[in-house]
């Protein structure tokens, strides 16, 4: 169990369940029952999306939804179309066919100027952090605010708050070159979270990191999901990450500290789903329990690693 200082959660997305089993339908119905129609609109929706580069099919009829407050883990081997999927959400790539909706708005044919507006509500964490080499940690995290012309004292306050969130306030004056791989990813997370985006996209944020650092990154994703009500897509090919994110949740204890607890008899996670891609096609969609029960030879081999 780990603990961190953080603000009080806005809303819990955890639901008690007697046997700890959650089906897709049950999770869907939970969202459908909500009075707030806004919440019933998926944060991200793909409808029959196709994408090819030259003659190579990257995504083949991909359809899925990420509900508000939900984390969708996209699993799959290299070249399966995982990173492409999140680039499509941001409009960094355009699909050949199909529709992409963000917060119910069809962004498929948005031009760059329209996408800029959509991107303001989305945070993206890149594989290697993608920090701007010429800017300090402070300036990297403050980037979005500087672009918006926010007053410097407000910028500093927000930057320090975000760096505290990722436990990196001490690195505020460092340059990206002075940071380790894990620190770069965490600064990338802090930068993506400035402005409080309600959708966060993780593109293999733990690739190449040692297990404790990878665990820290997963904890940040869990905190965003459970304490900040953020909808996210977490692209990974590491089963350890899947284990953490699908079985643990973050709560604030009486001392005001964030603690991570395992789901069990008391609570089970309904806001985390897994989708597995292979050669641009969905070969699995559902909960972690269902994933582990599947008999598909590719999936079982992927899970076991041999």
């Amino acid at each position: 169990m780990a603990s961190t200082d953080i603000e009080v959660p806005r809303e819990s997305t955890l639901k008690p369940h007697p046997d700890g089993q959650v089906s897709d339908e049950a999770a869907e119905s939970t969202f459908a029952e909500m009075d707030d129609h806004e919440r019933a609109v998926p944060a991200i929706e793909f409808r029959n999306v196709h994408l090819s580069f030259d003659d190579r099919k990257i995504l083949d009829n991909l359809s899925f939804k990420v509900q508000k407050g939900e984390t969708k883990i996209i699993l799959g081997g290299s070249g399966g179309g995982k990173s492409t999927t999140i680039k499509l959400v941001l409009g960094l790539l355009k699909p050949d066919e199909g529709k992409i909706l963000v917060d119910g708005e069809d962004i498929t044919n948005f031009n760059e100027a329209e996408m800029m507006r959509v991107r303001k509500n989305i945070g993206m964490i890149f594989q290697e952090g993608a920090l701007f080499d010429s800017l300090s940690v402070y300036d990297n995290v403050a980037y979005r605010l500087h672009e918006q012309g926010v007053a410097e004292d407000e910028v500093e306050e927000e930057v320090r708050r975000m760096l505290r969130f990722v436990n990196l306030e001490d690195a505020i004056d460092k340059m990206p070159i002075e940071l380790s791989g894990g620190m770069r990813r965490r600064v990338g997370i802090a930068r993506a979270l400035v402005g409080g985006p309600k959708i966060v996209l993780f593109d293999e944020p733990t690739a190449g990191l040692d297990p404790p650092t990878a665990r820290t990154i997963c904890e940040l994703a869990i905190k965003l999901r459970d304490l900040e009500d953020v909808s996210s897509i977490f692209v990974t090919h590491e089963m350890n990450n899947v284990g953490y994110i699908t079985s643990e949740y973050a709560v604030v204890n009486e001392a005001g500290e964030v603690v991570f607890e395992k789901e069990g008899e008391r609570l089970c996670l309904i806001n985390t789903k897994i989708m597995m891609l292979r050669e641009g096609r969905t070969i699995f969609s559902g909960t972690d329990e269902a994933l582990r029960k599947t008999e598909d030879p590719y999936i079982t081999r992927f899970i076991r690693g041999h």
Binding site: L90, L92, M124, F126, E128, A130, R191, A192
Partner: protein
């Protein structure tokens, strides 16, 4: 795709990038600080090589032409020949080529590295238009600094010619200077400015385009940088021919 189609596509994309950068200049936010920073990097940073290139080009021009002119008894015209050759042709072209080598490669390598390390994607993800933030300031900085650098190269080159003519060939300083003033016209200076303006656009757009379309990791960055310098240099020299011909017609200069 054959080479002709690829070349046409490349010309189209590069032109569209330049047009898009110019369009974005008039929309907020404007990146004045980036522009000033780039002017410092391009202008002040290139000053040493431009001074050296200009001085020795003027010097060698005098070194080569004085004996030939002397053969015809026209050695007093050395200043005129050095000045007109520099202001009309050598100043803009050599400065352009030096800047293509120094600045074009740097722009392409910087943008290419940003592409392969996903910094350009990150910039777009953070709601910033890379054309406005990266391309437009570099283009403007080049358009402003290249004429100024050329002016310096011209002046220093004439100085180099003066040093060679007076110190090596014993020509009088007054004879050299009066030949310079006699030879130069406003049209020569204006024509030189027009050329540097076009060269700046060529270097800026080709280098930015090559940088932004980098693919294939660090090897790709090297490839983009080489292509940027080679393509800028070739297009610059080819365009120089056509601009010169056009200026001869428009400005009615001697043909």
């Amino acid at each position: 795709m054959n080479i002709a189609t690829r070349s046409l596509l490349e010309i189209q994309e590069t032109t569209m990038l330049a047009a898009s950068a110019v369009r974005r200049l008039f929309r907020r936010p404007t990146y004045i600080n980036e522009m000033i920073q780039q002017m410092d990097v391009i202008g002040v940073g290139s000053l040493t090589i431009i001074l050296l290139t200009g001085f020795f080009t003027g010097g060698v021009l005098a070194l080569q032409t004085y004996p030939t002119l002397k053969y015809y008894g026209a050695q007093d015209q050395t200043g005129m020949l050095v000045a007109t050759a520099l202001v009309r042709e050598l100043g803009p072209v050599l400065t352009g080529l030096m800047i293509a080598g120094r600045v074009g490669s740097a722009i392409s390598a910087e943008l290419g590295s940003m592409v392969v390390s996903q910094q350009i994607d990150a910039m777009r993800a953070l709601g910033t238009d890379p054309v406005r933030k990266l391309v437009a300031p570099r283009l403007i900085a080049l358009v402003i600094t290249l004429p100024l650098l050329t002016l310096i190269a011209d002046a220093v080159g004439i100085g180099g010619g003066w040093v060679v003519s007076t110190q090596i060939y014993g020509m009088s300083s007054t004879a050299f200077s009066s030949a310079v003033w006699q030879g130069l016209t406003t049209n020569d200076i204006f024509g030189g400015f027009i050329k540097t303006f076009v060269f700046a656009l060529i270097i800026g757009t080709i280098s930015c385009r090559q940088g932004l379309q980098t693919e294939g990791g660090t090897v790709g960055v090297g490839r983009s940088t080489t292509t940027a310098v080679v393509a800028s240099s070739i297009v610059l020299i080819v365009s120089d021919f056509f601009i010169t011909k056009m200026l001869q017609v428009i400005l009615d200069t001697p043909m």
